[in-house]
């Protein structure tokens, strides 16, 4: 099979991605540090490192968080998503430099252990305005560390995609922690409205795009609500689905991708085994459903990856009556073969 996935290989696209990322990171650091030393000569090297890396990491986190909803809004942004984990791991490294320098600068060479100092120097845990901001950064870093450490596909397989995905959703918790880390920390000292304004724009962009993507995604997918006949729910007209493409449906909490190909219809789970990518936005290539995110493939008839691969996804029974497509939202165990519905005029009674 010529077109099968090999997600860890390097290619031109990936090299371009990493080069652009590294170039932009270097550009930021060079401009920040040069300007910092020339505009504010009294500053110490430690503060330059702390501020240059923290702001770069925070900026990168915004970019990372914006890519997901952008791709959901318009799949032409997908090339940005493919290599997002490199962006994530790099962001973690930059944030770790900030954290290590901060701990060294503010907490070492004192009368207690640096980590004890981190949590006990400031004690107003009962106050909102005076809440210690550094522990917030510590927990954010911990989350970013777990994410970076488990970002490899090895962990994805070992933890199961669902656990992995849940784990990686905690990036939003990390983001919230960092926003508070900044608001309760440096913004109390650097009171220029530009800073508060920039962070406001950042938070609004991230949350706004997520809300918009959820809203539009929700509108794009079908929500059939006709009562079930014999367990089957009427979903759409055959002609609503493009050849070799799918419609995404939400029925009884099941996220289903309904594919039309070679005069047949098959329904499988919309969630890719790899990273829960949206299979319904994929395409049938060489007879296989191909995930738009990283190219994992599944046979539409049984939800199994073609050998030698072993990934399996849930399948659903489909019928076509007249031009109406009916789906049974009861999932079959991953990899269960289903007879594809043929695009010919039948009635439910015929099939029974």
């Amino acid at each position: 099979m010529a077109l099968h996935y090999s997600p860890v290989l390097w290619n031109r696209q990936k090299r371009l991605y990493d080069l652009t990322m590294a170039g932009l990171m270097a550009l930021y650091l060079i401009i920040f540090c040069t300007l910092q030393t020339s505009l504010f000569p009294p500053i110490t090297t430690e503060t330059i490192v702390i501020r240059a890396t923290s702001t770069l990491a925070f900026l990168m986190l915004h970019v990372i968080l914006v890519i997901g909803p952008l791709c959901r809004l318009d799949n032409r942004f997908l090339p940005l998503l493919y290599n997002r984990r490199h962006l994530g791991v790099s962001m973690f490294i930059v944030a770790a430099v900030h954290s290590v320098f901060s701990v060294l600068q503010f907490h070492t060479r004192g009368d207690v252990d640096p980590l004890v100092s981190l949590f006990t120097s400031e004690r107003q845990y009962g106050s909102f305005g005076q809440f210690p901001f550094q522990p917030l950064g510590f927990f954010a870093l911990l989350i970013l560390f777990v994410m970076a450490a488990t970002s490899h596909d090895f962990w994805l397989k070992n933890l199961s995609p669902r656990v992995w995905k849940t784990l990686h959703m905690s990036v939003y918790l990390a983001y919230a922690l960092i926003v508070m880390h900044v608001a309760l920390g440096i913004l109390q000292q650097e009171t220029s409205p530009v800073y508060a304004g920039l962070m406001g724009v950042g938070v609004l962009t991230v949350s706004g795009l997520h809300v918009m993507a959820a809203f539009i995604g929700n509108r794009r997918e079908l929500h059939p609500n006709a009562p079930a006949t014999d367990g089957f729910v009427a979903v759409c007209d055959v002609n609503d689905i493009a050849d070799n493409r799918a419609k995404t449906l939400m029925v009884n909490g099941q996220n289903i991708a309904l594919f039309k190909y070679d005069g047949k219809l098959s329904a499988v789970s919309n969630l890719c085994r790899h990273q829960n990518g949206p299979l319904g936005e994929g395409k049938i290539i060489d007879g296989c459903i191909t995930c738009p995110w990283h190219g994992y493939q599944y046979l539409p008839e049984n939800g199994q990856s073609p050998p030698p691969f072993t990934e399996k996804i849930e399948t659903y029974a489909v019928r076509c009556v007249g031009t109406t497509v009916w789906v049974n939202p009861q999932p079959y165990p991953p990899g269960t073969p289903q007879t594809p519905a043929l695009l010919k005029v039948t009635t439910i009674n015929d099939e029974n």
Binding site: R12, R76, L184, Q189, G282
Partner: protein, 281 residues
């Protein structure tokens, strides 16, 4: 129809393919272009809008030798004669002694005494790193035990130091640690630095109340208890915050010492409200 190398029309792209079809490459190019503008702009804006740093100095890596009388109470100072001061009324300047790292000087001075015997009424030569800001100087005993280089009997020209009483005052300012504030860290005060100031003061560095009068005048006051005892542990909660402190003011050469009457009554300003105002801005 144009096809890519997989034979598929370029309406679908998988990240690992060698080249993205133009439909995909174009929007991505726009994103990269936007980032090429945004990234330098952010770097500039984030630096440019900073409020700046004090011109306090820490002579990092540069050791200075000073000779003078060791003062232990209420806090450790080295008392050195001011050059060219009139011989009939000699003037003195005090340099606050501070340990290495986030520690007071006491432990180091005890090490010296273990080596040289009592340093009471002795003239000592001390080598360390100078820290200074707004007429206040401190010396970090960077070399710790070996920072004390010479010990000699005190010449009679070094007058017996006295602390001149200036009466009761109430002052409002931020409790800082003089090591960071007078030069080691930028910023060495305020919210981001608070945890570090707590560490330094818990480690025995004398707390320094820094007062700004709103007209560009600033001054520092070393805080001790009513009888000159250390109150570091009692005030840790108020460190790095705006406080109002009442006490008896004393002048020891060029330093002001505030003998705080009621250290437990430090009235914290409504810092929560201040913080919220800053957040709203």
């Amino acid at each position: 129809m144009k096809t890519d190398h997989t034979g598929e029309p370029p309406d679908f792209y998988i990240g690992w393919q060698e080249k993205a079809p133009p439909t995909y490459a174009r929007p991505v190019r726009w994103v990269v272009l936007l980032l090429v503008v945004l990234v330098p702009a952010m770097a500039c804006l984030l630096v440019w809008q900073q409020r700046g740093f004090s011109d306090a100095v820490f002579e990092y890596g540069q050791l200075t030798m000073l000779e003078g009388q060791l003062i232990r109470e209420p806090v450790p100072f080295l008392r050195v004669p001011v050059k060219n001061s009139p011989p009939d009324a000699p003037l003195f300047e005090r340099i606050l002694l501070i340990g290495y790292g986030k520690h007071g000087a006491e432990a180091t001075i005890r090490q010296w005494e273990a080596r040289y015997g009592s340093l009471h009424n002795k003239k000592i030569g001390v080598r360390g790193t100078l820290i200074y800001h707004e007429g206040h100087a401190a010396l970090e005993l960077t070399e710790e035990a070996s920072a004390c280089r010479t010990v000699a009997p005190l010449p009679p020209s070094l007058a017996i130091p006295t602390t001149q009483s200036l009466g009761e005052v109430t002052l409002q300012g931020e409790i800082t640690d003089p090591k960071c504030f007078l030069g080691v860290m930028k910023p060495g005060d305020g919210r981001p630095h608070r945890a570090c100031a707590v560490r330094c003061i818990a480690g025995g560095i004398p707390p320094l109340l820094w007062v700004r009068n709103g007209k560009g005048r600033e001054n520092g006051y070393v805080l001790v208890g009513p009888n000159g005892e250390r109150i570091n542990d009692q005030i840790l909660k108020a460190v790095g915050q705006n406080v109002r402190v009442r006490g008896r003011l004393g002048q020891a050469d060029n330093w002001l010492i505030l003998y705080v009457d009621a250290p437990t009554e430090l009235t914290r300003l409504r810092a929560d409200v201040l913080a919220q105002i800053a957040l709203c801005q």
